[in-house]
Symmetry: C2
Subunit: 143 residues, 2 copies
DNA sequence: TTATATCCGACTCTATTGATCGGAGATAAA
DNA sequence: TTTATCTCCGATCAATAGAGTCGGATATAA
């Protein structure tokens, strides 16, 4: 299945929230979880990952939480997916994977890899501000 | 994870084989399974699905098997994925899904849907002959 | 009639994803 | 200095989807 995980959805929603409520300075896990109806502990891990990858900054203690480090126009969808789900792989076989019993006979590997990189390139052109803004019509013309 | 299933891989490899060995007239499950090292029963179902969807034609009884109905240039990658995996959904939420507890607050749904349709459109421009041929450089310029 | 195919549903096993739990470390405020 | 409220992090459990297996039915060339 070619599907994004819930975690990625939650990450995008959180970034959206943080950019929308910049005035709050810090947005904590609890409030984001409550507003979007996300399990708090799960969201906590996602935000920790986003912090570790440098998208947001964490502030510990009471009144603590997270703030956006980068502007949504400087974050791409591809980056967020990779931060949460790891490297994007439409094609399942990895270069030199000896556990794949098809590799030797497989003729479709390299063409599919090019399709994959095309899609990855596309995802890397989509900045988050285009996702969280209302005017999204231009998305289709991007690439 | 944005990943194609093994079933889709097997389907593409089978179509590849059938187009390559057109001289055989019929290619049976056993021989394809042996050549590509695919579990026979699993491959059988995939081929049945491809037959049901009109990509290949089945011939029952001994000396039976499958033959390509369409030319690889008339089959797109998107079509094969849909035949095997069902409708392509990068975005997990479906129009009017009441079980999703985020729908009301979710602001990212519609923009993501446009990205999805862009990718689907791209996959529908990739014909199988481009995947099974050696010259795949032009793939990147397609869309 | 027999051997070899497709056909098809039910089932098991495994991997991934989604969610929960327990507790440690940081820090602002009382 | 204590306390309440955060982030942090590993371990664990549950749900779902993917991959593969099994048993038996039907078709048909030899």
């Amino acid at each position: 299945m070619l599907k994004l995980t819930k975690k990625t959805d939650y990450a995008l929603m959180s970034i959206n929230y943080m950019s929308y409520r910049k005035d709050l300075f810090v947005a904590n896990t609890r409030s984001i979880a409550e507003i979007y109806n996300i399990p708090r502990e799960l969201l906590a891990k996602i935000l920790q990952k986003l912090a570790k990858e440098g998208f947001i900054e964490s502030q510990n203690g009471p009144k603590g939480g997270y703030t956006l480090l980068k502007d949504p126009s400087e974050i791409t969808l591809g980056e967020v997916i990779r931060a949460i789900e790891g490297p994007i792989q439409i094609v399942r076989c990895i270069e030199g994977d000896s556990t794949c019993s098809q590799t030797e006979q497989c003729t479709i590997q390299s063409p599919l890899r090019k399709i994959e990189s095309h899609i990855v390139d596309y995802l890397d052109t989509i900045t988050i501000d285009k996702i969280i803004s209302e005017t999204t019509d231009e998305l289709l013309e991007v690439n």
